[in-house]
């Protein structure tokens, strides 16, 4: 995966919709199902369950579909970044900590986000211990 990220040409944020599966490695059925699930849920971020489900999924995974990057990372990132950028309360930062870690990974590896639109991650915030 490190090689994949090194060799991946970052896509610009505006070009995310042009990405297709050919940019990525083949997925297993489990990975395809997770990819499909979170692409569907990314259109429903107004429902709290969608973000909770994404955060919970990312607790144990590097990327949306597992340990490999997929098109879902781009599609979901495009929808989540504007929402995540509004999280400033410690409560939100704690609740969605795994999404924030993932957004930071994607904006530093797969997607070229204009500096002003990037999620600013404050590593000095003291978050309460996570209760699973």
């Amino acid at each position: 995966m490190a090689d994949f990220i090194t060799n991946f040409s970052k896509l610009s944020f505006a070009d995310i919709s042009k990405a297709d599966d050919s940019h990525f490695a083949d997925l297993t059925n489990e990975q395809k199902a997770l990819s499909s699930q979170f692409q569907t849920l990314s259109a429903r971020l107004d429902e709290p369950e969608s973000l909770e489900s994404l955060n919970s999924n990312l607790r144990t995974k590097t990327f949306v579909a597992g340990n490999v990057a997929s098109k879902a990372d781009l599609v979901v990132f495009e929808k989540v970044l504007p929402v995540a950028s509004k999280w400033t309360a410690v409560e939100d930062l704690a609740k969605y900590r795994h999404i924030i870690r993932w957004v930071d990974l994607i904006q530093n590896t797969l997607v070229e986000v204009p500096e002003g639109d990037k999620l600013k991650v404050n590593n000095d915030v003291e978050l309460p211990r996570e209760v699973k």
Binding site: E30, A33, S36, Q37, A43, E49, S53
Partner: protein, 169 residues
């Protein structure tokens, strides 16, 4: 082997979810029927404990069980963008008012057909075959008559409790 769990809500969205799971299970994973999860806090619909894998979105579950992740007809995209909001609003009338294109020429068990059928079920379940039956209603009736679909519907209705529609004055 994955365990399948029903939506516990009493809404049309829950009915559509339980139809999707029950028909897909009846068609592709007969050994496991959809049951009610005893963990009250869990919203997972499919759980594979051994693999540490779970899904909570019904269309992904149907695709996974059928190993069919395509949407060549565009029916799944239509279901997610047009029918889902009406299901979420818990209104069979709203579903009826949506003009659904005739996506399929022939009724057959595919992920897309299971998903579209289940979302239309609250609106079309009582439709009768007449000379004026629309193409979509004709397809719906043909699909409903497939044996594994019939057993899936029966099972879904047995595990879903629907609230009575509110009286309109």
């Amino acid at each position: 082997m994955s365990a399948l769990y029903a939506s516990k809500k009493s809404t049309l969205e829950a009915l559509a979810t339980n139809l999707k799971l029950s028909i897909a299970s009846s068609a592709f994973q007969k050994q496991v029927s959809v049951s009610v999860n005893e963990d009250a806090d869990s919203t997972a619909l499919l759980v594979d404990k051994k693999a540490g894998f779970e899904l909570s979105e019904p269309n992904a579950v149907v695709k996974y069980l059928s190993s069919d992740f395509t949407d060549a007809s565009g029916a799944i995209a239509f279901e997610e963008s047009q029918l889902y909001p009406a299901l979420k609003a818990n209104s069979a009338d709203k579903i009826s008012q949506i003009a659904t294109p005739a996506y399929f020429e022939k009724a057959e068990i595919t992920a897309a057909q299971i998903i579209l059928f289940s979302a239309l079920y609250p609106a079309l379940k009582d439709s009768k075959s007449t000379s004026e039956t629309t193409e979509i209603a004709k397809w719906f009736q043909d699909f409903a008559s497939i044996e594994v679909v019939q057993s899936g519907i029966k099972h879904a209705l047995s595990i879903t409790t629907l609230e009575r529609p509110k009286a309109v004055n």
